[in-house]
C-alpha cells in the first residue's frame, strides 16, 4: 500500500470526488426544505426544487405581465453589459498605465504614489459621489467597477512589467531598439497574457461592485432583482439567481483562461 500522499485518484474517481460535495449540499438542502415544509407548508426560507423550478419558469420563460419582457434574460443582459464595459475599460486603463509606469521610470515616479493612494480608497465609499456626479444611470455603475478594479490592475501590471528580466531590455537596446519599439515589441506582448490573468483575479471584485451598485439604485439587472424580491422573501427567485450569477462568473473565467491559452501558447507552455 502506497503512502496516502502518493495515491492519485483516477480520472473517474477524481470527477466523482469533485461532484460529491455539490451533490451532498443539494441533498442536505432538500432534506432541510422537506423538514421545514412539514412543519409549515407556507415556509419561504427553503423553497423546494419544484417551487424554484416554477419561479424560474416565471422569470426566464414567461413574458412579464407589466413589460412583456423575459425578466431574467433582460436582467442578465443589462448586468453583463455593465460588467463587461466596466472590466474592459478598467483593463484598458490598467494595461496602459501599468505598462507605461513600469517601462518608463519618469512616468512611474510621478504616478506610482498617486495610484497607491487611490487604490486605498474604498470604492464603495465613493458610490454616493458617483451617483451625485454621474446620476443614477448606467455611467455611475460602470464607473464604480472601473474605480474598483483599475487600481489593482495598474499596480499588478506595473509589477509584472518590472519583473520582466532586465536582460531582455538590454538585449533589445543592443538590437538597436528605441523606447517605443521596446514597449511595443518586447514589453506589451509579454504583458498581455499577464493582463488576462489579472483580469481573471479581479472579476470577483467587479461582480461585487456591480451587484452593490445595482442594489442601491437601478431598475433592472441581476443584483437589482435579488434585492427587489428580498422584500417578499422570494428565496425561490434569489437562490437560482445566485446560482446563475455564479455560473456566469465561472463561464467568463473559463472564457478568459481558454482565450489566453489560445492567444499566448508560449506563455502557458513555458510556465
Amino acid at each position: 500500500m502506497k503512502r496516502l500522499i502518493n495515491r492519485q485518484p483516477s480520472s473517474v474517481t477524481r470527477a466523482f470526488l469533485g461532484i460529491l460535495p455539490l451533490v451532498l449540499a443539494l441533498l442536505v438542502y432538500q432534506w432541510g426544505s422537506t423538514v421545514r415544509k412539514a412543519e409549515n407548508p407556507q415556509d419561504k426560507l427553503l423553497p423546494g426544487f419544484v417551487e424554484i423550478h416554477d419561479a424560474m419558469e416565471r422569470m426566464a420563460l414567461t413574458p412579464s405581465k407589466r413589460t412583456g419582457e423575459l425578466l431574467m434574460w433582460e436582467d442578465t443582459k443589462s448586468s453583463l453589459k455593465r460588467l463587461v464595459s466596466g472590466v474592459a475599460i478598467a483593463a484598458a486603463i490598467g494595461l496602459t498605465v501599468g505598462l507605461l509606469t513600469g517601462a518608463i521610470p519618469l512616468f512611474g515616479a510621478s504616478l506610482t504614489p498617486v495610484i497607491t493612494v487611490i487604490s486605498l480608497i474604498p470604492p464603495m465609499a465613493l458610490l454616493p459621489i458617483l451617483f451625485i456626479v454621474f446620476g443614477i444611470g448606467e455611467v455611475s455603475k460602470v464607473v464604480l467597477i472601473v474605480i474598483g478594479v483599475a487600481p489593482f490592475l495598474i499596480r499588478d501590471l506595473y509589477q509584472r512589467t518590472c519583473e520582466l528580466p532586465r536582460e531582455q531590455l538590454v538585449k533589445s537596446m543592443t538590437l538597436g531598439a528605441n523606447s517605443g519599439q521596446i514597449i511595443f515589441r518586447v514589453l506589451l506582448p509579454q504583458i498581455l497574457p499577464r493582463l488576462f490573468a489579472s483580469v481573471r483575479l479581479s472579476l470577483g471584485a467587479a461582480w461585487l461592485f456591480l451587484i452593490a451598485s445595482e442594489a442601491v439604485a437601478s431598475t433592472d439587472g441581476l443584483g437589482y432583482r435579488i434585492f427587489l424580491v428580498r422584500r417578499y422573501m422570494s428565496m425561490d427567485v434569489i437562490l437560482p439567481y445566485v446560482a446563475w450569477i455564479t455560473l456566469l462568473a465561472f463561464l467568463i473565467d473559463c472564457l478568459l483562461q481558454q482565450g489566453s491559452k489560445r492567444l499566448f501558447p508560449w506563455y502557458h507552455a513555458a510556465k
Binding site: E167, Q168, T174, G180, Q190, A269
Partner: protein, 260 residues
Amino acid sequence: MIEFRNLWKNYDDNVVLENLSAQVGSGEFITLVGTSGCGKSTFLKLLLGTEVTSRGSILLDGRPIADEPGPDRGIVFQKYSVFPHLTVRENVALGREFECGPIFGRVFGSARKAILAEADHWLESVGLTPARHRYPHELSGGMQQRLAIAQALIKQPRLLLLDEPFGALDPGIRKDMHQLVLSLWGQHKLTVFMVTHDLSEGFYLGTRLWVFDKCRMDPQAPERFGSTITFDLPVGKTDRQSLDKIKESLARSAQIPVAV
C-alpha cells in the same frame, strides 16, 4: 580599435576595478577569467554600457563609448537573452525590424520577406534551421544560446560580448558551442569579449586571455582595493606552466574573503 584608459570603478567605498589600461585590436578574441567577485562581469557591463566608469575612459575607435547599450555592441547573457513570445525566426528578425520600422518596430510585405530570409541565413549559420518555427521554451539550453548568438550577429556589431554564455550547459554541448563560436569568429571577423569562470575554457578559446585579480590586498578591508588585469597572455603561447601559475595566484586571493 578599443582602448581602456586608467579605468576605475567603485560603488561608494567598494573599489571593484582599479587603474585598468589595455588596448584591443579589431578581430581579437579575448577571454576574461577570474574568481567570483573579481570584477570581470562589472568590466563587461562597463563595455556594454549598463554601468559607467567612475574614472578613466573606454574609447571605441578613438571616441568615448556610449553610456547606454547600443547596436554597436552585441550581447549574449547566460540566460534571458531571447524573447519567449517570439518564434526562433522572429527572434532573429527582430533586430532588423527595429531598423526598418521606426515607430512600432514592425515591417510588412516584401520588406518583411527580405528580413525573414536574412534571419534564415543567420539561423543556418548557427544550425537552427530545423527549429526556426518553434518558440524558445521548446529549445534546449544550447539551442537557446545558439539563437541568442544569431540574434546578436544579424546586427553585425563591432563588439560581441558574451557573459558566461555556456555556464549553464552540459560539457558536451559546451564543446560544440566553442566550435561554433570559433568558426563564427573566424568567418565574420568578429571582436569578441567572453567572460567565463572556467579557466580551461578561457585557456584555449580565442587569441588572448585576461585574468582579473587584485594586485594589492588588505585582509581587514578587502573592498579597499580593486581588481585589474594581472595576466594578459596571447593564447597561442600559453603552456602548462602559466596555467599553474594563474591557478596558484587565483587560489591565493580566493583564500581572503571578499566582502559583499
